[in-house]
Symmetry: C2
Subunit: 153 residues, 2 copies
Amino acid sequence: MSEPRWLDADQQRDWRAFVDGSVRLTELLDRDLKTKHGLSVSEYEILVRLSEAPERRLRMAELAEHASQSRSRLSHTCSRLESKGLVFRGGCPNDKRGVYAHLTDEGFDALDRAARDHVETVRDFFIDIIDPSDLAAIGRAFTAVNKRIGEAG
Amino acid sequence: MSEPRWLDADQQRDWRAFVDGSVRLTELLDRDLKTKHGLSVSEYEILVRLSEAPERRLRMAELAEHASQSRSRLSHTCSRLESKGLVFRGGCPNDKRGVYAHLTDEGFDALDRAARDHVETVRDFFIDIIDPSDLAAIGRAFTAVNKRIGEAG
DNA sequence: GAACACCTGTTGAAGATTCAACTAATTCTG
DNA sequence: CAGAATTAGTTGAATCTTCAACAGGTGTTC
């Protein structure tokens, strides 16, 4: 077995900055949303995607895809959101296997309140402290990552 | 309450690319390490930090800091790593409250094997598909994020 | 040096996520 | 159209993480 192509010093530094930073940032956003609005980031993400969908509803599989979650996880999380009254699930006329997750009015309001705080925190710890051209680079890079993962998966 | 400063279209696009990309990438790396070597990313991270420390050992609190984990989580994870024989914990002479986590030889070998595969995957889905100047931008940006979080926390 | 606040690390229970197994509906194939 | 293969979504158990409470050690203050 041949020697792998280890990262050089710069690559290693940049990769680690990203790993650390993204873990810490996610954790911070999560705690922020949780203490102020009782929502985890992944619950928030679900509400966002539903709010943007036509008629504020989405098939479970689509929602899972949009929110980067497994179907099983989405099922569990939706049950919780449903018991909080932020979401409800109803059948699908065309495909009797299918289930639509709908955002309730209450869910929309909760999202609206949360988003107002969330965007400030995202600015405070990310957007506003990054050079705009570096942000554009991040956009390009992670778009490429998503594309690559899509091809492989 | 005043209207928040929402993100503009570009910022939103870039931010979402990052959120999606980092979630998917982390998940992919996790599954990769888990199937090939039975290690989660956070276990791997712990082994890496220990391997780089003088005498391959670190106080629990330091290790938690380096690996971006809570102390409680580290305690639990170390118990698991210990029962796999990759780590062991021993007391600290100076401070009788303290505990050193040590990397065992077996742990070092397991890390070595895992790292060889891991670096290839990191290259395949991140380093090698990103323009080097964009990678540098990521390094700058997340260094700033870490600094910002450090100041606030 | 006694009383106090603070720090270190662990624990167990509650909560969330993963994994494999499952039901039921649709689609494909001959 | 029967039967096999896929797909949608859920479920419960195992695993992992978070949270609050705790035991014990350090250090500071008067």
